[in-house]
Symmetry: C2
Subunit: 322 residues, 2 copies
């Protein structure tokens, strides 16, 4: 009789971004033993990309001590959990529907699970981060775009076709700001992403002639610059975050009345603005809730290091997979 030490097993986490693909070998406790990356945008042929990935990962597997590997988890934009395909991802070099989970699974001879990056982040948070022990929570990623992963009854909600949790594209201001890449006007992403914050700051600074934001060229304005100006007391910059927080808070209230989560977990560059955005977010969230939901839902930041989160989230899919 031989006993397999499960705690010895590793999971491979792969996070596919438009420019780079990061990967790492992760143990059960969420420690990244070894990691690396390859470019995504240099290989328009998907077969070449898979080969690059295999060649980069093999030495890492050896480096990690040739321990048994349970499987591979992949987070990618437009990744579909049910079909294992990446469907029409505008920022990736491969067109149409790419059977990524099958291609990776076959090349590595390991089970491969794929989902979108925000869903992977939610699973990572549930496994290793701020959502440990929670059965109902919503993960919101506030970066260049706004992504989301929704967990209810302890399970990620994939929905009928695997695309659930596109909260960034829900409308929060009907007939509002056009979006740069969708046909939907007034979406959460159009306002509360880093991209949206920069647009708001460019609009608002015109009403504040003395604002230090006026010292920047239009293309230099980003959420980091707005934060720095806000921190130095600039009113237009502070008003940018106040406005963004109000809209985010209103949106979160709607989400809470949908799935009644224990917590909302926020992740991404935008939360670096701290109280400038979180105070109005919390205020307008509570204000737009029915009394039965008020002062109950935790609004917390991710507990995963931003640099590690994508790999950890993707690797967590392996442990979560049945």
């Amino acid at each position: 009789m031989s006993l397999v030490d499960l705690s010895n097993e590793l999971a491979i986490g792969i996070d596919i971004g438009g420019t780079n693909t990061k990967f790492g070998l992760v143990n059960h406790r969420g420690q990244i033993l070894t990691q690396g990356d390859i470019p995504t945008d240099k290989t328009p042929d998907i077969e070449d990309y898979i080969e690059d990935l295999f060649n980069a990962l093999q030495p890492e597997i050896v480096k990690a001590g040739n321990k048994p590997i349970r499987g591979i988890g992949v987070g990618a934009p437009n990744g579909n959990y049910y079909t294992g395909t990446i469907d029409y991802a505008p920022n990736l070099p491969w067109r149409g529907v790419v059977p990524l989970a099958k291609l990776i699974g076959d090349r590595f001879n390991l089970p491969c699970t794929l989902t979108n990056d925000a869903n992977a982040a939610a699973v990572g948070e549930m496994m290793y981060g701020a959502a440990r022990g929670m059965k109902d929570f919503i993960m919101i990623t506030l970066g260049t775009g706004v992504g989301s992963g929704i967990v209810a009854n302890g399970q990620l909600i994939y929905g009928h076709d695997g695309f659930a949790g596109e909260l960034g594209h829900t409308v929060i201001r009907p007939g509002g700001r056009p979006h740069w890449s969708t046909e939907i006007n007034g979406s959460l992403e159009a306002y509360c992403s880093a991209t949206g914050i920069a647009i708001t700051a460019r609009e608002l600074r015109e009403r504040y002639p003395d604002s230090t934001l006026n010292n920047y060229k239009s293309e230099e304005i980003n959420s980091k610059v707005v934060f720095e100006c806000a921190d130095k007391g600039d009113e237009a910059a502070r008003e940018t975050f106040r406005f963004t927080g109000q809209l985010l808070g209103e949106a979160l209230a709607n989400f809470i009345m949908f799935s009644s989560p224990e917590a909302i977990i926020l992740f991404g560059g935008v939360i670096n603005a701290g109280d400038y955005i979180m105070k109005p977010t919390r205020e307008h969230m509570e204000k737009n809730l029915l009394p039965i939901f008020q002062n109950k839902v935790k609004l917390v930041f991710s507990e995963l290091k931003e640099a590690d989160a994508a790999i950890l989230g993707a690797s967590a899919l392996v442990w979560e997979a049945k």
Copy 2:
């Protein structure tokens, strides 16, 4: 060895409304064998109410042939599945938190499951109606108010505290129409309930001096009257449904991007307006979806008879309970 014929078992379904409580004995196939009702509003003492219910139900149990009864399911406003309590229901005669499931369970000596009326409707639809075989759908009840029940991964979403699925109170027009009983402005219920439709019609008829809606006293205007006027070609009445359908469609698009359901099932008096409301609903729903969700989600009517649906939904909780 004795074999129990499970198909012989019955479930008791109880639907508690502000004025009346309806009950029925239902078999596995969703047939109501016998039913009755008692007033809700005549018994401010909950103990008296439970006694009335017991006395009214006992003869029905006998009438149904004294078959084995698996349990009791109750749908009630503000009914909480986890705690079995009705919490601060504004339209019921009992104040505060009422431990209804325990009171009924003890008096009948049967397991008792409680949830809110819209959740019960969703379970009824899954068991006996339009959602048979579906694992992901959203039920929207459009009556005096707007209720909802959300099913994902084959399970009703109760959320962390049992209050999930309050979609009627999500905001669809920030800063919009005040609500008659909440502090939330611009909610779905404020516009798309029968109550909201009457308000819209009263507002719109002022802009249409020739509208037949102007022949009615303000308090006579309800969604049925608006439908009759629309059906006779009245422009203000038709515009009322067009506007309502637009807002409903926009809200449904947001819900779809949350949980990616196979279908949205509509129930309640408002859907009697048929195409006058459904055409704009469908149009604005599709228009506000990302392409990956478009032309996929079924928008269907409940398949349960309106008179039976509440009892069937409540009884279905019994078969669903683990």
